[in-house]
């Protein structure tokens, strides 16, 4: 990670803010973060107030500040663009968080215990936010995490250059300070495991198990060695970096896809010593769905962007992949999502040599929650919930990527907060 702002740099950036009436930035966050207020507070040197404003809606304010594509969210309506460029809201958010850690300020507090327990399954952004919301209302919260440390995608998939482990640990510590209990290396097994939690006296369970299965392209030749999904590649890059380094060192790596995950895979491979990294994308640069700033940085890092290129299958030798069969495309009319549709150009088939291929075309919730009898899921494995996050099982709620499929961190935060409030309302009922 790059260095964040110093105090004086942050004040300078905050001083550019026009302090809008009805600030558009505060209307643009899925997590209900309120930049219009915390930037004003920072400008007025009310740093603790600013930190409290930021954290009261978003327990992962620092991580969001680092990861959010602010230019498409809060900063998209920034009126300062009428003069030059939008305020760097993410950068200010990160500064405030780091400042609070530095001075040991605890912007949020747990309420006096109300005697009720809630279990949260999965400790990614949605689970952590739900936990914070409930702890602040006096609930005793236990987070069950199947892996060895909490954090979900942020800890186990995102490359260190996007979000450093040390940085993330400092933010997660705020939950421990709220009295939230973490039980790691604990899998909640199917419906039986869920019922057991409810039987143990947990008044409600929040399922925030994320989207952990890579969507695969199902192309001919995909069974050859060296072809993998983004999920596995990124998870192994964090768990056993030396092994992955050995796999990609001096190799030609092809990454299929144009989103943030594809960018993460490409940069990881490049930094692990790959000779050349190609990002293959069937539309063009403008249609790539990822964070626009991130895309630019990735390109500047020397990754090759091979646009208008559709993968058709793989070639291999001795059971190892040695190329991607591709074809040129051109852009046709917009599809229902508004992006121009790629159309194949016949006769342009060719093979792009590749020793390692990573398919980074999306993540989905996977099979995990299908084993929960009585839990309604859609065809992609996404849990179906009410607006408040209730599932079809009484006292069981769900949110985050498990419900949405892979989405921005701020959406997961918003889900967790809503679910926390809904659970509190349900359990405290007529009180």
């Amino acid at each position: 990670m790059d260095l964040g702002y110093t105090y004086s740099q942050a004040v300078a950036e905050a001083s550019r803010c026009l302090l809008c009436h009805e600030p558009p930035c505060s209307a643009g966050c899925p997590a209900n973060t309120n930049p219009g207020k915390f930037i004003r507070q920072l400008r007025m040197r009310n740093l603790k107030g600013a930190i409290a404003t930021m954290y009261c809606n978003n327990i992962l304010a620092a991580s969001c500040g680092v990861l959010c594509p602010t230019c498409t969210l809060c900063a998209s309506g920034c009126t300062a663009q009428g003069l030059d460029r939008p305020i760097d809201i993410g950068g200010l958010q990160r500064f405030l968080a780091e400042h609070s850690w530095e001075i040991g300020f605890r912007p949020i507090q747990a309420a006096a215990p109300n005697g009720q327990k809630v279990a949260i399954v999965g400790s990614g952004p949605a689970g952590l936010m739900c936990a914070a919301e409930l702890a602040q209302r006096g609930f005793s919260v236990t987070l069950f995490e199947r892996l060895e440390k909490p954090g979900g995608v942020l800890r186990h998939l995102l490359p260190e250059h996007r979000l450093s482990a040390v940085f993330f640990d400092r933010e997660v510590k705020m939950l421990a300070d709220l009295g939230v209990e973490f039980k790691c290396n604990q899998t909640i097994d199917g419906r039986a495991g869920l019922d057991e939690l409810l039987a143990q006296g947990y008044g409600a369970v929040y399922l925030a198990t994320g989207a952990w299965e890579a969507v695969r392209l199902d192309l001919p030749g995909a069974d050859a060695g060296g072809i993998q999904g983004a999920m596995g590649f990124l998870a192994r890059s964090k768990r056993e970096p030396q092994v992955v380094k050995a796999e990609v060192k001096d190799k030609q790596v092809a990454v299929i896809g144009g989103g943030d995950t594809a960018m993460d895979v490409a940069v990881t491979a490049q930094r692990f010593g790959a000779r050349d990294v190609y990002v293959l994308y069937r539309r063009s640069y403008a249609q790539m769905p990822g964070n626009p700033e991130e895309k630019l940085e990735v390109m500047q890092e020397g990754i090759h962007f091979v646009m208008l290129t559709q993968p058709l299958g793989y070639t291999s030798e001795n059971g190892r992949v040695n190329g991607v069969k591709v074809l040129r495309t051109r852009l046709g009319d917009p599809d229902f999502g508004g992006r121009r549709r790629p159309e194949a150009i016949p006769g342009t088939e060719h093979v792009l040599p590749a020793d390692v291929v990573v398919e980074a075309v999306g993540l989905k919730p996977g099979k995990g929650l299908k084993g929960f009898d009585g839990l309604k899921v859609d065809a992609s494995g996404r849990v179906v919930v009410s607006e408040a996050g209730e599932t079809d099982i009484a006292n069981v709620f769900a949110g985050g990527d498990a419900v949405r499929g892979a989405a921005l961190i701020s959406h997961a935060i918003g889900d967790g907060a809503r679910a926390g409030r809904a659970i509190a309302d349900a359990l405290l009922g007529g009180e």
Binding site: V11, A12, C20, E22, R43, T79
Partner: protein, 415 residues
């Protein structure tokens, strides 16, 4: 050559190659320093105030503190520095050194005596060393020697007495340096004139207290756990300096040339001081912020300004603004107007609406859908605060427009 105009001026019969001088302060502490300032372009110096040396001078530590506004550093400067702590002999040698090597540049010896005799002896010594003029320091607001500096400047009879003492002892021109820390600066200025002073210098620093530490409640600069009322300078005091200079320049009974100072950083500041009646100018805080190199931009700026306005000599515009400076009872209150908006250039921040509601005439409502202010001209006070906060400033989106015949606006009763 960027400086195309003759910038020389004459004050009290002494010719300055240009009006920009170092003022008596840390920036004019030694001959070596002042020599470099002359090479950089300064036309003269009020050399760091010289004392007799019988009472030992020790500077407090630390001796200064910066005052910042937002992310802007050094909007003001607080200091508790004393007059020169160097031996009299060293200071006199430096004056000789400067006059020998830069004979065209003006050396004004600033002096401060702690007795009538000291004033006389210092004046003679500096004249003998070759000083072109004297400046009598009646105005340092934070002397550790009791009854000196500003205390003299606030006791008008002493101003007159010491001015007379010095005038009787020397033939070179004598300036009295005035403190702004009085009710009416023209009163001690008149006393200086009565004592025979040939000119005035103003302002010395404003007595201030810039801040208190949030941890230990000690004002800055923190001198061993204590802070003191002391000299405040820099851009923040320019409005006070301009006012003092203009008041002295306009006073019908004064009629003395003025060396103006207080917060000069740019050529615009310099021209403003000239327009309100300064003949020469002095700078310290600006040099503390930017170094001697700043003088180049001031000289070039003044030269371009003179080209733009067709002035051939600085004396052509000294005091040119004074006829426009009046007391408020001279205003024509029949002329009223409104704030005029160029809404095509509005970027929709809404700050105008916020301040109009809370500090203005409530003439602006807000259209949330279009993110634009909506004005009721009949309620506009023309207070113009909306234009102060409007970020669209090149050129300003909100301007004052006089509306002939417009009645004055008064808010209706609330009930």
């Amino acid at each position: 050559m960027p400086v195309t105009k003759d910038l020389s001026v004459e004050m009290c019969g002494v010719r300055f190659p240009n009006p920009i001088c170092l003022s008596s302060s840390p920036v004019s502490n030694t001959g070596e320093m002042v020599g470099r300032a002359f090479d950089a372009g300064f036309g003269g110096v009020a050399f760091k105030t010289i004392g007799k040396g019988d009472i030992k001078i020790i500077h407090p530590a630390p001796r200064m503190a910066g005052y910042d506004y937002g992310n802007k550093k050094l909007v003001g400067l607080q200091n508790v520095e004393q007059i020169s702590d160097r031996p009299l002999d060293h200071n006199l040698r430096d004056i000789r050194y400067l006059k020998k090597n830069w004979p065209e540049h003006v050396v004004i010896a600033s002096i401060m005596g702690f007795s009538n005799d000291e004033w006389r002896e210092l004046a003679i010594a500096c004249q003998d060393a070759g000083a072109d003029m004297l400046e009598l320091n009646f105005s340092c607001p934070h002397m550790t020697v009791e009854g000196s500096g500003m205390k003299v400047g606030q006791a008008f009879d002493l101003v007159e007495k010491f001015s007379a003492t010095v005038k009787a002892a020397v033939t070179i021109p004598v300036l009295a340096k005035m403190t702004p820390n009085v009710t009416d600066i023209t009163e001690p200025a008149l006393s200086a004139k009565m004592g025979g002073a040939d000119g005035l210098a103003a302002i010395n620093t404003v007595l201030g207290l810039t801040g208190v530490d949030m941890k230990n409640f000690i004002p800055s600069p923190n001198v061993g756990g204590m802070g003191a009322y002391s000299g405040y300078s820099g851009p923040a005091v320019k409005p006070i300096g301009l006012r003092c200079v203009a008041q002295m320049a306009q006073h019908p009974d004064l009629g003395l040339p003025i060396s103006g100072m207080g917060g000069i950083e740019t050529w615009i500041d310099a021209v403003e001081y000239l327009l309100v009646g300064s003949t020469t100018l002095q700078i310290t805080s600006g040099v503390i912020h930017y170094g001697y190199r700043m003088v180049e931009d001031i000289l070039e700026g003044i030269s371009y300004f003179m080209e733009d306005h067709g002035f051939d000599h600085i004396s052509d515009f000294v005091g040119k603004a004074l006829p426009n400076v009046v007391s408020t009872d001279h205003f024509d209150l029949g002329r009223q107007g409104i704030a005029q908006y160029d809404l095509d250039r509005c970027i929709g921040c809404g700050q105008c609406h916020v301040v109009c509601q809370d500090a203005g005439g409530q003439c602006l409502t807000w259209n949330s859908a279009t993110r634009r202010p909506v004005m009721d001209e009949s309620r506009c006070l023309a207070c113009m605060i909306c234009s102060f906060v409007c970020p669209v400033s090149k050129p300003p989106m909100i301007t004052y427009k006089e509306v002939p015949g417009k009645p004055e606006v008064m808010p209706p009763p609330s009930l």
